[in-house]
Structures are given as structure tokens and as C-alpha cells.
């Protein structure tokens, strides 16, 4: 590793923050919650989760929170995800594929536009303790 200049140190800081930001309890602009009950896992929720993760990574975003939760109750429409732009009502998406996930990410998370074709409805179950 070469010796750093001041500019390189700042660049290194920015790079490092892209992966460590989730340790800090900062505010997030958007939340993605992938439902990972047994039904969701069987239907491929794992791939959906990873698709979202790679979208965030690809863009180096530090304001999107990706979490998981258990079965949302509508097992026949898994994989499912709830997407919430903070300050707006959460939206539940059903029958997801990786491709749909990418589209939702671009349109809803980045563009702020709900993808009604894949949405089940607005609202979310209570997941707090």
C-alpha cells in the first residue's frame, strides 16, 4: 500500500464509509424490508434480497436500509417486500423476481414513483417488538 497524500486519505475515508455507514444509527431515506418467512425463503426471497443489496452497493448508497422480517401472511404471493420512502406510506410488492426488484429499486427507491403493476397495496403489518 503506497503512502497516502491528504487527498488519498479523504478518498479512502469516503470509500470506507460506503460499507461502515450501516453501523451508525443515522437516518435512512428509504427502507426495504424483504419478507423471509419459510414461505418467502422457499419462493426465492433470498435472491430478491441479494438483488436489492447489489443495487445499493452498485450505487454506493448510504441512505437505504435493507432489512428482513418474517412471513407477511400472504404466503401465496411470496416473495414479497415492503418499501417505504421515509415520510410516505409503505408499499407492499408481491410475486417478485430479481428483475422486478431492480425495476422497483430504480423507479420507487430512486425515482419516488410507485410501481403499481407489482404492488399489492399500501400499508404494512406491525413488525415492532
Amino acid at each position: 500500500m503506497p503512502k497516502l497524500t491528504i487527498e488519498e486519505l479523504e478518498k479512502l475515508r469516503e470509500e470506507a464509509r460506503k460499507t461502515t455507514f450501516i453501523r451508525e444509527q443515522s437516518e435512512f431515506r428509504a427502507k426495504i424490508n424483504v419478507h423471509m418467512g419459510t414461505c418467502g425463503l422457499a419462493a426465492g426471497a433470498r435472491n430478491i434480497l441479494n438483488a436489492f443489496l447489489r443495487e445499493i452497493e452498485k450505487r454506493g448508497l448510504t441512505d437505504v436500509l435493507l432489512t428482513t422480517s418474517g412471513c407477511a401472511g400472504l404466503c401465496s404471493r411470496e416473495p414479497m417486500a415492503t418499501i417505504e420512502i421515509v415520510g410516505q406510506a409503505p408499499v407492499k410488492y408481491v410475486d417478485l423476481t430479481e428483475k422486478k426488484a431492480q425495476e422497483i429499486f430504480e423507479k420507487h427507491i430512486l425515482g419516488g414513483e410507485i410501481v403499481t403493476a407489482y404492488a399489492l397495496g399500501i400499508g404494512s403489518e406491525k413488525t415492532d417488538l
Partner: protein, 608 residues
Amino acid sequence: MGEAKEKLYRVHLMVCAGTGCVSNRAFEIKEALEKEIKKRGLENEVMVVTTGCNGFCERGPLMVVQPGNIFYQMLTVKDIPYLVEEHLLKGRPVQKLMYQPPEEKKPVPVLSEINFFKKQVLVALRNRGLIDPEKIEDYIARDGYKALVKALTQMTPEEIIKEIQISGLRGRGGAGFPTGLKWQLVREAISPDGEKYLVCNGDEGDPGAFMDRSILEADPHSVIEGMLIGARAIGATKGFIYVRNEYPLAVKRVLIALDQAREYGLLGHDILGTGFDFDIRVVRGAGAFVCGEETALLASIEGRLGEPRPRPPYPAEKGLWGKPTCINNIETWANVPVIIDRGGKWFASIGTATSKGTKVFSLVGKINNTGLVEVPMGITLREIIYDIGGGIPGGKKFKAVQTGGPSGGCIPAELIDLPIDYESLTQAGSMMGSGGMVVMDEDTCMVDVARYFLSFTQDESCGKCTPCREGTKAMLDILTRITEGKGTEEDLILLEELAHTVKEASLCGLGKTAPNPVLTTLRYFRDEYITHIRDKKCPAHVCRQLNVYTIDPQICLEKGHGCDVCRRNCASEAILGAKGEAHRIDQSKCIKCGVCYDVCNFGAVKVE
């Protein structure tokens, strides 16, 4: 370093790997987590990070799940598969592994809502639980080396010193000398060949103290950065970190940190291309308590016997190899980068009129929440002991708190609303010290406490000066006599006289402060000394030679049916009676070892 760019994980598991949790098998927990994560195919989503001490040592092994700040405690390897499946796979935090305060019915999932953490203010421990101490990138991500850049490019050495003076920072090693003034003295001191040195005192040796150790283990770069800034301010090119060899984890992590900083050009020649040179060497101490005293420490670095010498000249004038030397303790150095980054005024806004900022304490003894805490100066003992510490176990009564280690004193329960700062502690007869806080309850004998601390200082006295060498020995003899019921009232007068002489006449801080535990216990708990001397009794039943053990024949027979356990365990054959009969103790044979009291399951053995 040098590896590919760090991947984005959706969850970071911050596993505490401070010395406390490591002794509680934190590394086994880490292995189990990694194994289970792999088994569940989560290795690309979940990352396990080992951090320094989280602080809540009582509840170790600990883990915090981020994002969410979910605090898990008292983990065992057996809990891990369930935890991984429930929380990491299905997103359902596991309640049974969370912290539940004794008085509450529901656990508190989020770390920042737990009382132990709520009142703490983190400055020196600003990266607590958020970084891997073995990864410089983690430190840099948390604004690490930002203050160094500022100090090297935007500030003159005088301005750096000014900023430290504005902050009001005082030495965290115990005596509380103003850090900015010390730096100025070293900067102004004339060195024969221009060379000046910087030293980090990591010879923490007080019983029950682990502040400096934890900082070095958890955040070594904060100390290194502080020293770099100090070196720029005073004009030094060489620095030393003196750390005890019996802190293996601290030694290991600081050596790793130094290597990483050197690789990145943050230490060595032409730092960050600014033309500034500075490097640090680690010197391992052999564990002599007296080497925490600055002149003894310097002698030890030079390779000589670790013995103090008279001051003046102070190290600021004539230190290492006769050159001007700036010595500060680990916690002091760790505060420096924040002060430069956020400004002296910001730092000075925390604390009291004369004591600024925060102080790290290790909270130990008879306290529910043993651990490492950082609190603003001026907080009361009550807040530390009851709000943060969770009070005294077993509903016992709080009796005293010992601060400042063997150099400090015992502060009695009446002073529980005392605000903690340098002056108020000194007025109470104790001192800030490096930050050990030993809590004592009603079962503690204050004479025995004084005897214990004196036996420590007597043992650690280097023997160079007579008042300390002979005085501590004479005082210890008197205290031992009193705890054995052989003390006289004249002894107390002699004890006080000796204490004042040792305090006045000793060469270094060790001797000058060694009588403090005796003087404070005499001041606040004189009646306990008198009871030991006049009534030959120890009110807390700690001094066993003063105890009289008897067996209540009724309880022995009715509850225990003369079970005979005490007789079989008595090494001096002082217990009479056969199985099925009431037993009794032959006082002429009893050596007061207390074994009968400990083994009796029926409470038949009484102690007076």
C-alpha cells in the same frame, strides 16, 4: 490492507472482543456465528466484526446487531444457531437474549435505551463498539486522522497548543495537570541538540482499573493520532508508548495499528506529504506499579532500573536522555484528536468550571453493572452508582466508593451526591486517579480495605526513599495488628503521624499518595477502627481473627439433624458432637477459619 474493496453487507454483527468478553469466550462466539452464517448461506449478507470493549462487561459476551443497535448479552455458543435463523434470516430479534433490567418485565432491545448506556457521553471512547481496532480503515471512516490533517495543514504548533488550552483538558492519569500548559512548557524548553520526546503512559496498575487498557485495545489509532498532533505541537520526532506486558491484547493491537499507520504513511518520514516526521516505538513494561510514576517510567524506557528521581527538573525540562519530554496518559492522548477536530470550546462546554470534558471510569466491586463507563465531569456519584451502575447487588446498603486506586481514598455514602471532578475528589481526601472506582457495600470492613491497599503499595514501593519504604511497612504492621484484635488506641495516633510523614517526605507520587486510603478511612470510618481496637470486633465480620463462631444447638438439631458436615470439615478438630446430635465449637481450638460457617446449610453457625 491492500485487499480488494470492502463489500457491502446488509448486517454487521459487532462482537465485543475486549479483554472481559474474550475471557468469556467471545472468539468462540465469533467462530460459531461465522459457521452458522455460512451454513445458512448468509456469508455475502452478514459480516462479523470484532470490536473493542463495549463497556457492559458484566453482561458479556456481548454482541450488537447493526443497523438497529440491537444489544445481545450473555451469549453462549448454543444460542447462536437460533439467533442466526431468527434474527438474521427471518428478521425477528430474539427477546430472550436481550438485556432485561432486574426491575422490568420486558427486555430492552436497543442499546441506547439501556440505562447503563443512557447517561454516558462518549468522547475518548467515541468509537466504542463501532470499529474493528485492527482495521485502520474503520478508524478513518469515523473521521480518523481528520484532526491530524487539520493540525498539519491549517494550524501552527502554537495554535494547536492554544486550542488544547482553550479546551481545559487536564491529565487523565490522575494528577490533573493542564495538558496545554505541559505542551507549552515542552515546546519552550531548550534541548541541547534540538531533540524532544513524546511519551504515552500506559502503565496502568491500580487494582480494578482497566480504562487505559480498554482504550488501547479498542481504539489504538485514537492514541496514535493524539500523539502525532502532540508531536507537531511540541516539535518532537520520536514517541514512545509504554504499556504493560501483562496487557497482551493491548500490545498486539497497538503494534498492528502502528504498522498500518506506517504503511499508509501516517507515521514515519514526510507524513501525508507535508514534510512532518514522527514515529512511535512501543516499550513493554514489566509490570512494576512505580513505573506509572513519570520519572520511573522514563528511567525504565532508558533501560535503567524503574526508580523515580526527585523533581525538579521536571521531564518537560529534562526527560528522556536529558531531553525535554512530554508525558501524557493514554486517555489524555485519546481526547486530543476530538478537541482539534471539534474545537477546544466544544470540549470545554462539557463538565464543570475547573474540570472539562468527560472521564472514563472502570466501575467494579459490589455493583450490579460492572463495566467501563465514560461520563461528563460533574456527574454525581449517585448517578454513576445507581443510574448507570444499577445499584448494589442483593439489596445491600452502599457504604463507600474507593476512587483513584491505592493512591486514592474512600468516599463514604454520606457524600453520594458529590459531583465528580478533580477538586471535589481531592477535597474529600481522595483523588481522580486514572479512573478506578471500587464500590463497597455494608459487608466491607474499612480497616481491612485500608490494610489491603497498603499491602499493595508496600509491596510495590521501590525502596529508594526511606519514608515510603519503611513508613508503608510500619503502617501496614499497625493495620494488620488492628485487624487481628491486637491494636491499641495509641496505634491510631502513631498511624496518623506516620501517614502524614510518608505523605510529606516521600520522593515520588507513590509514597506521597499511599497513605490516602488510611487517612480517608480514619476520617470517615474512625468508629470502625475504634470498634476493632476497644471491642475487638469487626462490624462487617471480615477480619476473621476477631470473629467468634458458635453453633445454635436448636437450629443444628431441628433443621440439620446434627448433619455433622461442619465437624468433618473442621481442620483443627474444634467441633464436638456426633452425627444426629447438636454440635458445638471448642473456642480454645478454633482458629477462626470460618469453614463451618461456609459449609453449614442450615444457618446454625453464628458469627459475632
